[in-house]
Point group: C2
Chain length 337, copies 2
Amino acid sequence: MPGINIKKERISLAHGAGGALTSELIGRCILKYFKGAVLGALDDSAVIDLPSTALIFTSDSFTVNPLFFPGGNIGKLAVCGTVNDILAQGGDPLYMSMNLIIEEGFSFSDLERIMASMAREAEKCGIELACGDTKVVEKGKCDGLFISCSGIGRKVLNISPERIKTGDPVIINGTAGEHEAAIFNEKSGMFSTKMRSDCEGLTGLFNAVKRFGDKIHFMRDPTRGGIAHNLHEIAVKSGKSISLKGKDIPVGRNVLALAELTGMDHLYFACEGRMLIICSPDISRSVVSALKKTGYTRASVIGIVERPSGSELTVEMKNGKERILKELDFSLTPRIC
Amino acid sequence: MPGINIKKERISLAHGAGGALTSELIGRCILKYFKGAVLGALDDSAVIDLPSTALIFTSDSFTVNPLFFPGGNIGKLAVCGTVNDILAQGGDPLYMSMNLIIEEGFSFSDLERIMASMAREAEKCGIELACGDTKVVEKGKCDGLFISCSGIGRKVLNISPERIKTGDPVIINGTAGEHEAAIFNEKSGMFSTKMRSDCEGLTGLFNAVKRFGDKIHFMRDPTRGGIAHNLHEIAVKSGKSISLKGKDIPVGRNVLALAELTGMDHLYFACEGRMLIICSPDISRSVVSALKKTGYTRASVIGIVERPSGSELTVEMKNGKERILKELDFSLTPRIC
């Protein structure tokens, strides 16, 4: 009887109503994958013991479309986004919350795939799911699944825009724009070859650079708006100018081809597994070498912080001319995260 | 030119895309109302200093339908739900995050009304908005507005189900089931008189009872599933039985009428401004008196914790007979929170 099977394999409104069926959903799709002790108590809130007093608190919603894409899915992306936001504030990730808003009729198997990959990424990144909430809305009232996460971390690096100095190098751990290119390609079907998102939690990268301590001045994960929009914002906040060398910015062949075909600029494409690191000039080579040893073989110095000039951010092109990079009004592809 | 006005008064996809238009939206609709210093930095994350080590971390999504209802709206409800979850763990509320998922075309003026009432309730409850995120999805891909919040509090009362003892009284601060009755009535239009939700953040109540310290054994805000479902869960977790006296449970005339007309049990109706307090018997009268002085004139002892019997939760009816109250499979009204 197919009707019955479909019912069992699909999430209903009652699964989000807070009673026994919600407990079943949580047991079947969430606790099966997340085994932390704090979450296990299954209270409305978690009580957590923290040794330090300076905490990082971050929050993001994820509405990425499509839910599954080469290199990741909405759940993996939610963990990476939460973890990378904490790291970019100089914090060790500790705990996260997860709120699910599920459309009635969503399949249990898709939810399980998403939860399993979230749990894997969370374990890899050293963050523990502490609390969460599950709502189900009627068919047509959301787009499959939305996930909201908050994260808590302990600040261990003293980084802030005020610490950025003239002469500091700007380092990135890999190629530009792969997340947005992958989502754009999935939506448009422009290239038949799959383009893979760089979606990745960067705790390993952070652990490799945090030994440089106070010599790390600033970090930022260049998500929406990519390298250009984010560095523009950093230049404004620090009251400096930043100049990039185009030839030194690593970029994949497919991303470049997509940018050229569409007339878009890959420097504005969102990344989800990249970190911009601004540090003291004397550790520049050591940081790049530490990143390479951690597996980021294309880590590079891509620019330098300069005294404030008329324009906040410039890039030197192949022909030696300078191009001014401005703030982005809105991102190029809708619902990339 | 009405077309242009409509465009200006409606939120577009570009307002959620992370660029200059997102900043405009945040400035116009959020920062205008929330003036905390932590949020003002407008970073992706907040850095917060905390004097204590035992933290409460809670998280909820709000998908209530309708967005506006007598006594509140989705934003006020989000603050109350977050604050009351922290209080119910014995914590002083400190910081919260706010993630907005907005449907393209949602009106700026509705968003402003919601933000203004969130900010008012947050100030009243002593919680500061620390960080947040704004996403906009295409028309038809969400239901107006969803809000996800996480909250952080400092644990100041040592409450847990294990501390509940035989003989402890069960106290409530007011009438049962008004939130769910209000939402049900809005959806069904059953009564032409407005029924008002009890939606309220209970920091004032918490401040009035926390001086009783260790003599407060347990607290719980009876949201989804109401008094009955929540007390059933508490009985199971504490390994005790709880018996209620029906005639002592305060309930409004309208709520009772709605329950009788629909055949539903108001003891399972969600409350959003009520707290169940289980305490040492010797402070029972002092707690009720403290609640009354704080404005909760209908505060009452509604039951008592007993040695484990065959049934976790019972209520004595008017005719003197006992009725067994079971766990609720799913809540009676969809999308009440």
